[in-house]
Amino acid sequence: MISFNLLIFVSLAYVAFLFLVAFAAERRSAQGKTGWLRSSTIYTLSLSIYCTAWTFYGAVGYAARSGLEYLTIYLGPTLVMIGWWWLVRKLVRIGRTQRLTSIADLISSRYGKSTVLGVLVTVLAIVGTTPYIALQLQSVTQSIGVFAASSGETWLPRDLNSAAMWVAVGLAVFTVVFGTRNLDAHERHHGIVLAIAVEAVVKLFALMAVGIFVVWGIAGGVGPTLDLIDASAQSQWNPVSGRWIGLIFVSAGAFLCLPRMFQVLVVENSDERVLGTASWAFPAYLLLMSLFVMPIAVVGLDLMPEGSNPDLFVVTLPLSEGRQGLAILSFLGGFSSATSMVIVATLALATMVSNHIIVPSWLNARTPGAVVSGDVRRVVVISRRISIGVILAFGYIYFRLSGGGTALAVIGLVSFMGVVQVLPAMIGGVFWRGANRWGAGAGLIVGFTVWAWTNFLPSFGIDGAISQAVFEHGPFGIGWLRPQALFGITGMDPFVHALFWSMFLNTTAFMVVSILTFPNPLERLQGAQFVNVFDYSSGARTWSQSAAQAEDLLVMAQRILGGSVAQATFRAEAKSQGKAGFLPDVTPDFIGRLERELSGSVGAATAHAMIGQLTEGTMVSVEDLIAVADETAQIMEYSNELEAKSAEQERTARALLEANEKLTALSIQKDAFLSQISHELRTPMTSIRSFSDILRDSEVEDEARKRFAGIIHEESNRLTRLLDDLLDLGVLESGQVQLNMGQGSLADVLDRAVIASGADTGKLSILRKPGAEAILVQTDLDRLAQVFINLISNAAKYCASETPQLRITVREIDGETVVDFCDNGAGIPKESQSMIFEKFSRLEDEGKAGGAGLGLAICRQIMGALGGDVIYLPGQGGAAFRVTLPKTQALAAQ
């Protein structure tokens, strides 16, 4: 038989060990050696306070009663952690940028640093957590009772009560010592975190030890264990859909919303990167914790006498098998589960109570002198210590009142569903900028009320808090308000019923009220910062130009942060502004930063209120919000401008490049032009000179003389034409051309051109559509005719077809009159198309054409001068030119 005193001794030794661990951790962090204290292992292990005595003892009881349903409680958090990229990462980032101290602070801060919401969440958390703390006390005393009974001592209820009280007192001392050392929650509680990490290892080790003992020591291996399960009362697995899904949802939500979970998950997190490890390591921890639950339950049901409490199988099984060492280890595991939960939950709640209830009331009671007199720091610490005591006292009183009879799992679920009422406001606040404090408040109140009515109060049993008559007929005989059949819908599982209605009405109220009401500027600012937390590097400013004096602010900051920290903060700020000493300029940015520092100690709402007193309420306004938005817009515009500028530079560079190429080409062209022109002039000159030499120097026959004179005449004509063309081109190019504007029919101009080119008498047949040509044009008709003549005679000259044809089409395209000249010849090769309008460009040998290659160049110059254009039209089956008449000068004939 185990000595009961040995158990007490081991427990005390264990507690002393925890104190030592916590002290050592605090000392290390005080020396600045926080490296491994912030490691992902410690973080993951600290998350295990999710597994309380409810898991350690209660899961086995749950499995014994309802089979595999207990797994849902661990599957929910698994989902949250493997889905950390969605939500947990965002919460942690928000927690760090906003220096959140608790879940109440999150809600309060998100919704415009609302004090009321902070109080609401705090109250909700206390109501939801107190039974849970009672549950831990109960499980510890029950397990002590088991040992007492097995060692032959008879324990009266009075003894159990006093044991519970001593446990509560011990926990209060531990929490006060290690939880209220640092005021700034962001200095983090290394002592507590390390202690609960150690406890996490102990409880996992203990539960697995019992599990291994049960599977391999009693049942005889994995196969036989599974057989045993299939032969037990829980052999059939019939999950109820509503409960299965609902429980996964509730446990996932509670994992995020439980004050203690928020404390370790967000507040104590010092580095986002540890989340990556926790995302798989914590699910693995949960897996190991739940792995042996079913075997222990089944073997317990098999071996333990009828009527024994399955909640205590973890301790009673080893005891009944005579494994006292294992039983003590198991007891320590349960003790660890219970104590770590109570410590962190109490700490988190105390922070909430002091930041959202006590300090604001204290400040209010002492206005207006609050800031100038009294040490806030002391007030905060004392209020936190008192809160810790009060909360543990609540837990103890609840334990006494409830009598410790209810099954553990039921209390746990009631508590979970209570805190999950915060979930809509939390998720909405983090993902939906439209969420506002009215909506959050409405959702919280509605959800809280429905939960209390359908779940919390009925959990005391029929005739407990609610009389049987009300269960059956509703309050005051209002049937549709029956606590387990709201709106007359009966037959739902009470848990699913309560969960469905509370969450549905909560979310609906939250969203509808948010949609209908309008947030204040601070809320909108905070909303933007929370929802877009990954886009903001630091908090946007919440203050406009302020009337506060740096010295006043320093005085206040010293009272909250402590002298040295506050002075260091101010000095750093002054230095960054380029000033010496401790008093920086009071800029809105500085006030915003200071407020965040302070909120790490006393919560966002209180910090905001305190700064507000000094700055005389010159808080952010809608105009400031818009100004902030404008600044952003300006920055974006600036970067857009830069982008546009660089694009423009690129364009300019390209244009320069092109111009350069053109210049080079032009200079080449100029050389070519000069050589061309001299060539063109010299050829006729040469023949004129030689023939006139012959005529002068020798006797020539009459017929030959006539022929030579004819050649001279011909060549001088050609020379004259060339000079005329050159002169014409010169005039046109210099832009000094005289235009004789007149009005006439396009058909007439074309007629003249056809006749003048002499094409009508030649081989070329010209196809025209007289109907389309009846257009009045106002332009220099002679010049236009000159262009047409040129094009027609070109066709006559170059069209290589057997039966050369020229089709002249007049039509209107996009409101402009165009005249197309298309022949049926070979056309112009693609590579030459760009050259034909250049001077002296000829495609074939010059002899055939007899022209100097200036015609098309002149055409283009003329059309340019007239305000139109002439281009080569590819793909028409032959050479094709399109003359576009100037728009304003083309008039309809009618």
């Binding site: 889905g83 990229w85 599974l226 697995w237 859909s241 798989w280 920055i635």
Partner: protein
């Protein structure tokens, strides 16, 4: 308010990071579906309905999820370089 302009096309490694993040977002959804899948199992006879099958399925799924999550956490990088660079421009000095 500040929606830093993000690059539309990324180099190969950044692209892979984005897809890994998509995977990290997808995982809990798939996990949830797999967790509620047993609700749809046929349960016509006691043999189809054994608790031991449920244990094997759920814990098998759990182990699978742990390993997928382990893999993702190993390959996921926290900061997105393509985004941070651009975010730095409008921010200026802090």
């Amino acid at each position: 308010m500040i929606k830093s302009k993000r690059a539309e096309f990324l180099e190969r490694s950044s692209y892979r990071q984005r897809r890994i993040r998509d995977g990290a977002r997808l995982l809990p959804i798939v996990a949830l579906v797999l967790m509620i899948l047993p609700l749809m199992w046929p349960r016509n006879s006691p043999e189809q309905n054994q608790t031991s099958d449920g244990i094997i399925y759920i814990f098998g799924l759990w182990i699978f999820l742990v390993f997928v999550s382990l893999f993702l956490s190993r390959v996921l990088r926290f900061s997105d370089p393509s985004r941070d660079e651009e975010a730095r421009i409008p921010r200026g000095g802090e």
